[in-house]
Amino acid sequence: MNLIETFRTGMEAVVSHRLRSTLTVLGIMIGITAVILTVGLGEGAQQQVGSAISSLGANLLIVTPGSTTSSTGIRGGSGSASTLTVANANVLASKTVAPDIAGVAPVVSASESLTAGTTNWTTTLVGSTASWTSVRGRTMAEGRFVSGHDVQTHAAVVVLGPTTASQLFGNRDPVGQTVDVAGTPMSVIGVLTAEGSSSTSNDDDQAIIPITTAATRIIGGTNRNALSSIYIQATSSQTLSAAYQEADNALLSLHGITTATNADFTITSQQSLLATATSVDKTLTVLLAGIAGISLLVGGIGVMNIMLVSVTERIREIGLRKALGATPRVIRRQFLVEASVLGLVGGMLGAVLGLAVAIVLPHFISNPIAISAAAIAGSIAVAIAIGVAFGVYPASRAARLAPIDALRSE
């Protein structure tokens, strides 16, 4: 009996045992769909966090006061007071000190209440300089950003994020209007372009004012030169580590620190943030893949049961075929074809259903679903393996029975 005949016989058995075939295909299909969707959700979350961190700005380094040490955890450099000053930022901006740094944006920030007319909105108030837009990679939707002149004159001007603007002014044009920032009236000079719908980031909800205005009029405090952080942009991604070294050395010498481990500041790169976030998400993906694996296993056990029962039901058929001259090998092959076809069809349908849901579902939930070819290929392979193992093993055992024992079985 050649392979074509075996294949034809196997296919006929698949078609003629409709209920068995349908249930098997259904079990495999659901398992595969679950794998594709859960892995897709995990990878989607990973990509989302990745793009959120990339949106911080290109080739970005962030200097924050205080430092962490591996043994004792977070350690404030000098108590609660910030060790970073505007003067530090100005030194870093110098081309002679740090040739690989393209731009520096010193930042003070605080949570403040903004009032426009009778509307109240609490947001992140950021005091910075004109270089903030280029360092953070932001553009203006309308109006202009804070200028160098505004910084020098402590001007009472404010730039709003798009979310902030719509919360305060609704559909009205905010530019030219006046906003009360912590009791100080400031005129709105521009609105930032929306960063995009990134659910983890509040980059669209903030208000930016000149750093000098923030220090003297709004935030105040004992150390008016203290900064919340300094954003540094390297000239390119290749010079990022050089920029890191230059900033690190300059700040260490400015702060009079000789041992790098005693540093009272921390420099974080966008890559290291990304790496941390990605590793967290990898854990998530592994977890989800585990759940998916369990659902595939449960589906597989269902398939196994159907296969075992259907083979048991067909032991008489096996006996008859043997009586008519089929060798055990031919019987095994027939069931191999049947099981593979069922596994393959179930796998394909599961992949199609999984892809369809992955495309449709993100319209209804906020989470994106990434489609993973590896997950699809892997789960189909597992489905076929399950079908073959549990379809062929009992058939192969039945094929070894004496024909009359198989024929007699009920």
Binding site: M1, E5, S16, K322, L324, A402, P403, L407
Partner: protein
């Protein structure tokens, strides 16, 4: 007479026999059944049941033999061993001079396929296949190509009077019709030996008579036919009868003698 295509074999004389060569019994060595001191012991846990206790039997080529005995006598076990469906626990079995008790499973499959045709009490047709697809099964395992298979299956069905039911599934046929399909399947590969295990057990008397007539015609065409039954009337159809009781052959008698018993 060795030609199956002789006119008296055709149930419907108006139907032409399609393929002449399908009806020809191949010129192979005469199938002689020689069984010597065969025992068959079934073990269920610690319990041993001896179904056959030293059976010796010789059936020559072209004979029509009935194996008769009450249920539990071991006649079915003997038939299964004759048909290479089961192997004896002890003793030798030579089929056409070949010792089948030492054959591998693959060789036994080949023997069943080419030399033996089976007719079962339960018909044993595959319910999902049409009549002609059931009949072609032995030819599939013999490696016959598709178009030849169909021709031979249709010709065999024609010869048992089922030429107009070839596309029916077993569920759509009466018991007698199913058994006729089974007879067609038994002879489609031109085996020299036909084994019929209670072929009339599930049939009404009219259908039973038809099936017995078919077997008689197979015998007339030169085949060795072995019929297993518990029914003396059915055994009468054979030219000689072996009576079995408690796993042993009681005697060999001519059909006339067997028929003469009360």
């Amino acid at each position: 007479m060795t030609e199956l295509s002789s006119p008296r074999l055709s149930f419907d004389a108006t139907q032409p026999v399609r393929i002449d060569d399908t009806a020809r019994v191949p010129a192979q060595p005469a199938p002689v059944i020689e069984i010597e001191d065969v025992h068959k012991i079934y073990r269920t846990g610690t319990l041993e049941v001896a179904a056959l206790r030293g059976v010796s039997l010789t059936i020559s080529s072209g004979e029509y033999v009935a194996l008769m005995g009450p249920s539990g006598s071991g006649k079915s076990t003997l038939m299964h061993i004759l048909g290479c469906l089961d192997v004896p626990t002890r003793g030798t079995y030579r089929l056409a001079g070949e010792d089948v008790s030492t054959m591998t499973e693959v060789d036994l499959a080949d023997v069943r396929n080419r030399r033996i045709g089976f007719v079962f009490q339960q018909f044993n047709l595959l319910p999902s296949l049409t009549a002609w697809r059931n009949v072609e099964l032995p030819l599939i395992y013999a490696g016959v190509d598709r178009s030849t298979r169909k021709e031979r299956a249709l010709a065999a069905l024609d010869r048992v009077g089922m030429g107009d039911r070839v596309e029916h599934r077993p569920g759509e046929l009466s018991g007698g019709q199913q058994q006729r399909v089974a007879v067609a399947r038994a002879v489609v590969s031109n085996p020299a030996l036909v084994l019929a295990d209670e072929p009339t057990g599930n049939l009404d008397s009219v259908s039973a008579r038809e099936v017995l007539n078919l077997l008689a015609e197979l015998h007339d065409s030169g085949r060795t036919v072995v019929l297993i039954t518990h029914d003396a009337e059915v055994a009468d159809a054979a030219s000689s009868t072996f009576r079995i009781r408690d796993g042993q052959i009681l005697d060999a008698s001519s059909a006339a003698m067997a028929g003469g018993r009360p």
